[in-house]
């Protein structure tokens, strides 16, 4: 197609690094690991750059691969027997500061830590719903999961998060 969009790698990094890093961070709960995942995702994008046809295609590709690589990283960590979410209780997690990252607010910090205790499939659906503002249909596409499953994960995850927030974040959250 003549005059077709030409992907500019550096520009794509500028535009989407925050999204990719945030997805990885919220899925893994590990700042360093999230950085590594974000780097790997963009290097993978570099290899596939010729196949990227539009800016929207780049966005969808990055979102899908970021979620997939985060899930892979969590799986590898489980295989090695390092499941931080089991080891770390929320109370313990709350007492530890994050290392070097830029914090948005104390509430955001605590919500992230609460989210980290939600089972992975539900967490993935919640992150895409509330961070990326996706509809369940879009989440189903991003995760390659059936729509009914995504809806179920969203409902259960939200319910679980409400319950946890009612206990741990009652001074912040009104609707929990």
């Amino acid at each position: 197609m003549a005059g077709a969009w030409q992907p500019d790698f550096e520009q794509l990094v500028d535009e989407h690094q925050s999204m990719v890093f945030s997805l990885a961070l919220r899925m893994t709960g590990d700042y360093g690991l999230a950085e590594e995942i974000a780097q790997d995702v963009f290097l993978e994008l570099d290899h596939h750059l010729r196949k990227i046809e539009t800016p929207l295609h780049a966005l969808l590709w990055l979102r899908r691969v970021a979620m997939s690589r985060s899930a892979d990283a969590l799986r590898r960590r489980r295989v090695r027997g390092i499941d931080r979410w089991v080891e770390m209780g929320v109370e313990i997690a709350e007492t530890h500061g994050s290392r070097g990252e830029e914090r948005s607010s104390p509430l955001a910090d605590r919500v992230e830590r609460l989210l980290a205790t939600v089972p992975e499939p539900q967490r993935a659906a919640l992150v895409l719903r509330y961070q990326e503002d996706l509809t369940p249909e879009e989440i189903a596409v991003a995760l390659g999961a059936p729509l009914a499953t995504v809806k179920s994960h969203l409902q259960r995850g939200l319910k679980l998060l409400r319950t946890k927030a009612a206990i741990h974040l009652k001074e912040y959250v009104r609707g929990a």
Binding site: F9, E10, V13, D14, Q17, S18, M19, V20, F21, S22, L25, R26, E35, A38, Q39, F42, L43, D46, G100, E101, E102, S104, S105, L107, A108, V111, E112, L115, L126, V127, Y130, Q131, D133, T135, P136, E137, K151, L154, Q155, L158, L161, R162, A165, Y172, V173, R174, G175, A176
Partner: protein, 109 residues
């Protein structure tokens, strides 16, 4: 869950809390560094692949030339043997003819 259902307070707070976080400042630099390193490696790999392909091609061409040379030698040797056989047959025929002539001469005398 209805897709268009308005968010309640908790969901709105959750959405606000889960706004995208800025990427680490050095993330882009690290990505670009790794990209260049990888590009350099890829470049080296391309040259190594070309070298390997050239070596394989040279080996195949050399093998083909050697095979052709051997084949030509074999055919030459075969032709030489055929010529020798023909000469032996002709020699044998001439010897027979000589013997017959000699016998004929003796009879005539």
């Amino acid at each position: 869950m209805d897709d268009l259902e308005p968010m309640d307070d908790f969901e709105r707070e959750l959405q606000a809390a889960l706004a995208r976080r800025p990427a680490p400042q050095h993330l882009k630099r690290k990505i670009m560094e790794r990209r260049w390193q990888h590009a350099g490696r890829s470049h080296r790999m391309i040259w190594l692949e070309r070298l390997a392909a050239s070596l394989i091609l040279a080996a195949v061409a050399g093998g083909a030339a050697f095979w052709r040379h051997q084949e030509e030698q074999r055919r030459g040797e075969e032709a030489r043997q055929q010529v020798f056989t023909a000469l032996r047959i002709a020699n044998h025929a001439l010897e027979q003819m000589n013997a017959q002539l000699a016998e004929h001469n003796r009879d005539a005398q």
